[in-house]
Amino acid sequence: MSLPPLNKYFQAFFETLLMVSAAALIAIGLGLLLAIVLTVTAKGSLYPKPRLHRGLSVTANIFRAVPFIIMLVALLPVTRFLVGTTLGTWAAVVPLTVNLIPFYARIAQVSLNDVDPGLVEAARAMGCRRRHIIRHVLLPEALPGIVSGMTVSVIAMINASAMAGAVGAGGLGDLAIRYGYERYETRVMFEVIVILIALVSVIQLVGERVSRRFDHRH
């Protein structure tokens, strides 16, 4: 009698999907931008700006250091300002996004830094402007890593979204805690875990496929 009806599962699943995809879309966009800025402002790179580089780098570290559950609370005023409320699925999108931007930026930055400097030199030698180098050399050459970084980030975010129940955002994690933990319905918890495993596996599989598709290095 205390088992949730089937539509609860659907609802939770779509809440998770909504939270994660909205946050991922924004965070991956901004994170990639941050990664590019971090890469090209480094000493000896295309637009060397060591101060800006250090400032951004420190900021990214600060945001990465704060545990998600704390950020969820600490960002409440920002969330209220941006979405008008601190409760519900959309309210969870804000901390999820803020949490993911530096995480994804660092992963993408590693891929961008790994681009062979010889390719950048060749591009300069052929008369590419710096923006051409970003567009035709850095981004396409780093693309396989940028894509697999997305996979890692989205999966990490599904993880974090479970905590979003704390702000009444719903989602699969919330369902599992509410029924599995608070009402001792262990079965619900296991069912949610199975759904999560399936979701993560599909994302991983698709991510790997896409990444391989862009990889012509071998």
């Binding site: 062979d116 010889g118 390719l119 030199e121 060749a122 591009a123 300069r124 030698a125 052929m126 008369g127 590419c128 402007r129 710096r130 051409h132 035709h136 050399v137 396409p140 050459e141 693309l143 862009f214 012509h216 290095r217 071998h218």
Partner: protein
């Protein structure tokens, strides 16, 4: 002169102190010439090459291309300059994410050339380098020689007047090296291209260069026509670089060599004579008749000649029984004209070895 270097210097700070990559390097390159720069690793050749298209800027001195000073150009000026100067690399530096066609077409694309024009130009260049069938392939599927052909096509796509080659054949097997050098010679003729190449391999210089500059610790220690430098190297660095190509004394003979006849302890022996031909006085080669004047006992044991730009130069090692050698000496024939008489520019007695049993 197409390219003029005047007193170019460049230094880097390094943990061990200041490294002088280039010191007061001056030379000129004529239009249509294939100019080689050689030196050991760390001699500064890579830096020198990169100052031509301003990938590196000198601390002092100037580089002029057709009178245009390379230093002090802004980004627009540099982009414009680099479209007149193509460059190829030791490790090819092709973009792995783009097909051969897109790699070759990229310099045009970023210059805002219309796609159908790019297509035509790329097709023409792939044909020139013999890779028409590989246009849609990704570089990872190509052999080293093929990758360098793509590199050459890409470097020539703007129809440049200068081509810079950065150790272009150092990562290739001997067969591909020959093919790439032949292609470079071919395109430099066809397109009236000035080629500046750097290498640590004297064989490359011998194969295609008209003139050569030898760099050692950032300094130009020798420069001139290739056959002259090969025939009569002056700087120690040049000699060291030439050694692998020269016919030095074979190790087994070197082990037995003694300076003085008395060290043979009365055993029968041979004198070893090294004859050098520098290709200046007798560019067409060595007269066998003149060689035969060394006498019927003389034996040619090691050596060879290379014809470089129409000048035969090289060295031969001749052994002569001690008795014959002494009669030449007592006759007074071993004097000022001894070498000339036998067609050599320089004859040196290396020493004596016991006669083979």
């Amino acid at each position: 002169m197409h390219l003029i270097f005047s007193k170019v210097s460049k230094q880097y700070p390094a943990p061990s102190g200041i490294v002088h990559a280039l010191r007061d390097v001056s030379f000129t390159v004529a239009r249509g010439e294939i100019f080689g720069i050689i030196g050991r690793s760390g001699a500064g050749k890579s830096t020198l090459l990169r100052t031509i298209n301003a990938l590196e800027l000198p601390d002092a001195g100037g580089i002029a291309i057709d009178g245009l000073q390379v230093g002090g150009l802004d980004e627009d000026g540099l982009v414009h300059l680099r479209r007149r100067v193509g460059m190829i690399f030791q490790h090819f530096n092709l973009l792995s994410a783009k097909t051969v066609r897109d790699n070759v077409g990229l310099p045009l694309r970023v210059a805002g050339v219309k796609p159908d024009v790019v297509r035509q130009r790329v097709d023409a260049l792939l044909e020139l380098v013999g890779l028409s069938d590989k246009a849609e392939v990704y570089p990872a599927k190509l052999s080293g020689g093929q990758k360098q052909r793509v590199g050459i096509a890409r470097a020539l796509v703007h129809d440049p007047e200068i081509l810079l080659c950065d150790e272009a054949t150092s990562a290739l097997d001997p067969e591909s090296t020959q093919a790439i050098l032949a292609l470079l010679r071919d395109v430099s003729n066809k397109m009236d291209l000035t080629v500046v190449l750097i290498t640590h391999d004297m064989a490359v210089i011998r194969e295609i260069c008209d003139r050569v500059l030898v760099l050692d610790h950032g300094q130009a220690v020798e420069h001139g026509e290739v056959w002259r430098v090969f025939g009569d190297p002056q700087a120690p660095a040049t000699r060291a670089l030439l050694r692998p190509l020269q016919h030095g004394l074979p190790a087994d003979l070197a082990a037995q060599l003694v300076d003085d006849l008395s060290d043979l302890d009365g055993r029968p022996g041979n004198a070893l004579l090294s004859m050098r031909f520098n290709g200046a006085a007798q560019p067409h080669g060595v007269s066998l008749q003149q060689l035969a004047l060394l006498g019927p006992d003389a034996t040619l044991i090691h050596g060879g000649l290379d014809r470089i730009r129409g000048h035969a130069q090289g060295n031969l090692l001749v052994s002569l029984p001690v008795a014959s050698w002494q009669s030449i000496k007592t006759n007074g024939a071993f004097g000022q004209n001894f070498g000339q008489k036998h067609g050599a520019d320089f004859i040196e007695v290396l020493g004596y070895v016991p006669a083979p049993a």
